[in-house]
Point group: C2
Chain length 399, copies 2
């Protein structure tokens, strides 16, 4: 498995993409895009668990039930959420317009939207914009741009792996920034692969990868009504079909998980107002659920996030977050490390050089490790620091 | 029932208090205090559900099991949390020192601490400080000062009520500011009354009042290891014992709940960096649990809080928080009001004058009302806006 320099969602065989400035974002820029596979694809998707589901999410859940799809149409600037019946009609119309443009049936098109909640999709702009989108092998980069909102960077990756002697590529793009918390899929992310793969196995493998990545990401504890992670597999790599138990299943799973974790770390690093990536590893938990909830709670704690923003080795906040997480703990057993420096040992303060820790905390990535010393389960979660800028972004503008 | 102007924790008969600057807070000021009842009291307390419990919490739980107490000793500046066996010894020693000073048994003394986690209580300063505390009927104001940390205001109230022809007073003080979320008692708060009251009824009534007040308060989703709410009842009012079903039980319950809600609103208004009180009322829920979780989730949403800070009528964020709360909802049934102006009706956007809403949102209190229109249960939660100042407070200093 190796990384493809400059790789993106159109790196796998058979995929083209493109985007345009349809006038949907108030700040301008690319905001409407298409991903198209020349071959029919098997597809899997995971969607927000927010009970308020945006119209495009409801439509996608319907369209993906067949485990097939051939295109994704996506816009930024308007979430088409909380828009009632009108919103559902608009999402269906958006699928139809894209299908017409691509010569597909609307049922083969997935629809995604991101942006402000509670305003109607400007369908004339969508229609006119779709006419302008030019599809190409390089268009993946444009698509990655078009789905961003308050993101400052695009999130793109492509990995190549050998499947039974054939080269196959798994690639993905994502948008992140805010309203992100680990309740199922938690933002927009699209993945593509040219591997020939059994639809049922793809779904399983995808769920597993998302569980170890997107579901362990928190920016601010919010879950948007528009979240989705979708993968399309075109099969044009010509490999022998990957199925459960087949020789390449594990390698595919590993590459898929790596793509997801890369995207998640990119999202965390570029969280609204973020200056640092926080990686929280919890070890020695009594159960996987305990390890996961503990890691996620610490990564999501506003006081921990603010302390890390200030390079403040205020480890009591980490322990307080752990304590309220609900995970089984024995306070006298806990060891805690910040940037690999021990701050707490067996539940009591451990002497440390404050300046050394402050300096270590100044780096781009701040690793926190908590050893519960009770069992054998572990989990890793990702998040970012909390800065004044997060508040400014979210109070000064309607985002 | 009427409010006593300038009333505080020492307004009820039989209580005296005092505080001193023992040198525990880095910024100086009163930081060590005593509340003392001349008569033995029945007592009830509710404590943090954080699995990391500070030493004073563990000690209080032991001492209050008898449903009796006669004094509270409290310090700010050091939480005595995550301090291992040494911390437990220090908390016990603090109770003993206070008991000796007051001529009580240590078991009659409750201990509370608030401040930085993970450092040892400076016992010499505590010992020397306790010698200096002068107790008086006016000392309640000093005690209210001594328990503050990042609070900008003290929180004090006293209500007078008639119980069977006798005047009785219920009073309380609290500290708030940060690390506050509705998991049982969620900060330090002490209440006192001179009513003669059955210990079992007091416990019940107190739990009910806390459930409608402290457990509906969120500042930042954090639950500290030191949280406690305690009430002492001296009985010196000379009323006929209040018990379950007795004539004055409802009046006492109502006054107790009002004292708690007043303290909670004071804490929310003075949350770290807060400029506004947010009051979230959820109506028409299918169950009380649904109404409570929905109200609390909205009040705690960082995006809702940031929008309110910016007077931004971005109601989609309120609905998104509602959707992820877990409460049963029917999206097409939801009505939403901000400052009594309808923004969403039957799940769809409702036209409104943005300038009118922005102006209304500029006031000190921002009421949000969500009607689920599914059932008959309702709940109210309190919180505050999220400002850049919250991040500054929590990243620039070890608090």
């Amino acid at each position: 498995m190796k990384s493809i320099p400059g790789g993106t969602i159109t790196s796998p065989g058979g995929f083209v993409a493109g985007a345009t400035d349809a006038g949907l974002k108030t700040r301008g820029g690319l905001d409407l895009g298409l991903l198209y596979s020349e071959a029919p694809c098997v597809a899997a998707g995971l969607f927000t668990i927010n009970r308020i589901k945006a119209a495009p999410v409801l439509l996608c859940q319907e369209h993906i039930a067949s485990r097939k799809a051939q295109a994704i149409v996506v816009n930024a600037g308007c979430a088409n959420a909380c828009t009632g019946e009108q919103g559902l009609e608009d999402a269906a119309e958006m699928a139809s317009l894209a299908a017409k443009r691509l010569g597909l049936s609307p049922a083969d098109v997935l629809v995604a939207s991101t942006g402000v909640i509670g305003i109607r999709l400007p369908m004339e702009l969508i229609g006119a914009g779709l006419e302008k989108v030019a599809l190409s092998k390089e268009g993946g980069h444009q698509l990655a741009q078009a789905i961003t909102t308050t993101d400052t960077l695009t999130k793109e990756i492509a990995l190549s792996l050998d499947v039974g002697g054939k080269e196959s590529i798994i690639a993905g793009i994502a948008k992140g920034a805010g309203m992100i918390h680990p309740d199922l899929a938690t933002m927009l992310s699209f993945l593509a692969t040219d591997a020939a793969i059994d639809a049922h196995f793809l779904e399983q493998a995808f769920r597993k990868a998302v569980n170890l990545s997107f579901n362990m990401l928190t920016i601010d504890g919010e879950t948007s009504p528009n979240d989705m992670v979708v993968i399309l597999a075109s099969g044009v790599a010509g490999n022998e079909m990957i199925e459960e138990g087949s020789a390449d299943a594990d390698a595919f799973q590993a590459a898929l998980t790596e793509v997801c974790i890369y995207l998640v770390k990119s999202i965390a690093r570029d969280g609204e107002g973020a200056t640092r990536l926080i990686e929280v590893a919890v070890e020695g938990a009594l159960s996987a659920a305990d390890a996961r909830v503990a890691a996620r709670t610490i990564a999501g704690s506003p006081l921990v996030k603010a302390a890390i923003h200030g390079s403040d080795p205020n480890w009591g906040r980490i322990v307080a977050a752990l304590g309220r997480s609900g995970a089984e703990i024995e306070s006298s057993m806990i060891d805690l490390f910040l940037n690999n420096i021990c701050l707490m040992k067996g539940g009591s303060p451990h002497p440390f050089d404050e300046n050394e820790v402050r300096e270590a905390m100044g780096s781009d990535e701040v690793p926190i490790k908590v050893c519960l010393n009770l069992g054998s389960f572990s989990a890793t979660a990702w998040g970012c620091d909390l800065s004044e800028e997060y508040v400014t972004i979210n109070s000064a503008y309607t985002t």
